[in-house]
Amino acid sequence: MKKIIKLTINGESVEAAVEPNRTLLQFLREDLGLTGTKHGCGLGDCGACTVIMEGRAVNSCLILAIQAHGKEIITIEGLAEGGRLHPIQQAFVDKGAIQCGFCTPGMILSAKALLDRNPKPTEMEIRTAISGNLCRCTGYQKIVEAIESASETIGSEEVS
């Protein structure tokens, strides 16, 4: 039997009826059309489905949509403002940290969750923060460089 959930996604209030066995990932992608968050495995192994919930990076494939009731969620679609990329996104672009792009939304959100809490992370902290995000293309190095660069950019400018 469907249950009503109310939550905030990218700053907007959302209300919907969901089956208990619907995952947050399915809800985002199929019910809300927010297809930026990707399905890679469904088991929490790859991080392609990473979103930020209540300030923490989480695997949306292992969260029931029902559990997100009352929570604040940020997906990749919530980062750019008015077509202007978030500094982390811009850093990924500038440093060439993207190849096929499938892991990219998850990577960026893991990075954002890190930088929101720890604005000046060490390289170890960065690599640890993305250690649950698998990338088969880039070998991670440019992603790490991008996150380092973004931490400097965010540190030096006022970002609302």
């Binding site: 990707k38 990329l85 096929c100 499938f102 640890t128 993305i130 698998l134 293309c137």
Partner: protein, 777 residues
Amino acid sequence: MKDQDESLYYVGDFPVPESPEPGQEPKPWGKTRVIGKPIPRVDAYERVSGAAVYTSDVTFSDILYGVVLGSPYANAKVRSIDVASALKMPGVHAILTGSTKGADLVWPYVWGKDKAKLFDPHCRYEGDLIAGVCAETPYQAWDSARAIKVDYEVLPFVSDERKALDPKSKAVEAPDKRVAKTEKYERGNLEKGFAEADIVLETEYRTECQIQTPIEPHGCVAKWDGDHLTLWHSTQGVFYIQQQVAEVLGIPLSKVRVIGRYMGGGFGSKLEAGKYTIVAALLAKMTGRPVKLLLSREETFLVTGNRPPSNMKLKAGVKKDGTLTALHFTVLGTGGAYESGGISLTDWLVRDLYTCPNVMCESTEVLINAGLTCPFRAPGHPQGAWALEQMMDSLSEKIGMDPVEFRLKNIPSFSQARQGNPPYTTTGLKECLEQGAKAFGWEEARKKTAQQDKDNPVRSGVGMGACLWFVGGGGPPSTIVLKLFADGSANLNMGASDLGTGTKTIMAMVVSEELGIKPDKIQVENADTGSTQFATRSGGSKTIPTESPAVRAAAIDVKRQLFQIAAEELKVPASNLALQNGEIIPNADQSKKVKLNKLEALKKRGVIIGIGYRGPNPEKKWVNPFAAQFCEVKVDTRTGEVRIVRFFAAHDSGRVMNRLTYDNQVIGGITMGIGLAMTEMRVLDHNETGKVVSRNWHDYKLPTALDVPWEIVSIAIDPNDTEANTTGAKGLGEPVTIPTAAAIANAVYNATGIRITNTPINPLQLSRLMAEHKTRR
């Protein structure tokens, strides 16, 4: 049209290259404005914002979800299938089996079996197709698939290729077919070669089965409009899928459109359509609704291909002065249940990399009840390198020569393995070795490891490996269409897929180099059989060398037409015109220059269309990329834990087209090599069922951000190849992963004195080897 700000559109403080005379090849680029620079991707915004539409993002309001039911057994015959109750389950719209009308199709891509069926009643590997189901939701489809009653005759299986030739083992194909294929190569006189040697060594090596598993699962969306089928497909080549689907379904190419603009990685596993592609198409036909069929992650470990396990033996002879006298290589591999490239190219490096007059290679592909191989990023080569590069190190140690020096002594300038010994257009192997060693600090590092404290249980070691990739020159056919609009922006139309390698960006840069337009004013349309031009699959490291010359040709065609109409308008001969910063400039009188977007003739026409074709490759010469990779490791000799400290890679892939994508390929390729060397391995339940037990991403272990060295340096060696093609680029995507695993094994040997002949290098293997080594000492 209002005055555009030209700086938005054009880049260049010097003019675009001169056009060649008609019928003549353009000269190689000299100093470039754009090519070679680290320019961000043209589609970076789409990928980084979540706006890019991958196959799994395609949806329709009336879409149905398809799933595949595969055989749960390593070897079984399907006696009967009862779908009655499964069909009645909630939300189910259709179930497809071999006995469904129109589904009894030939699946001609199982090599060696011309009449193999799509629904083969004898399923010879786990996951082979039994039925397809589509329903309103994926859950309903899965529930229904599980409710299909299948009566199996479960048969004995063979899962270990090392046992496949044993007559006591079950033969995969009745009555006694165990061997799918054998290959033999020889030159010179092996016996004589070994007799001449001062040192002869023989070692056995093994690499485990590696599975591509790109992050995006395989899948497609199928939609019919009348008798016309559109497929959104995660693929490395839309035209190839079109061809396969048309062939299997028996419909004209014109009635199949395949779209694959964004795809999440391939590495060879998405070169072909899968049986799931046809299932999706048939289900969509049956129901009259679009069907989205994505393989589950578990299924990708079963049926999407792999790098086969290779059991190798290498016997090598060398003279004290470092001359190789003989190489005898044998490999036993498997392509799974049908012949499918299980030994493909594994012996190529032995045949061709180092100068050696006497060579014999014997390869045997046996059949086992497991999923089929498919080309996986440099098929055969990382396995061959694992053996050859470790043997080269062993030989160099025996003759007391530095491993880099030893390789430098044995570099051929021509292909020894090919008929007529064609020379390479360029070989940068020498420079890769020398410059790579220098940048890495090879000599000092070797001294340091030799002098390290013997009592420290954590030991450092350095190692290296070299390679070539047997193709990498690309070739025809390819057709490119380039449209120059009246405002000076352009539309590039090409069929090739961008797997994430940066194809679209590089092609836009080629246009930019020839016409001076900024890359971000060039819109690239690609990977759509309905609206883009024919291209072959993106694989084999041939995309850049194939497409970039064709793009250049299209740009030159546009330029020629542009100059022609400008010449008429300005009343100046076309040969006296230059193009710079979006302005047509008559050389004789610069004051008469006119902005492109002010050219009346161009405004009237609206668009100039240039067409470029990929011309032929140089005759009697071969284009190969080369590389040398160096690494430093730290080994905890108590536990066998290995940490890679740094990696240096020196690659000759011709001209660097885009520095960002180039370096990314190197880093990514090394990471994949680290996976082969240390963490990845398909595990089959050999004892009881033959099933794949490593079917998720924590049992099948991909390297994470913490597993790769924090320092990977990419050095580009550009040999200035003016013959390979008109852009001078060679393939890069595959050579980057060939010598990696061997370099790591060589470094571990340097650290510990233990030769690791079998992958993976991990505490499971090493802790035992270390303990044995200690007790022996």
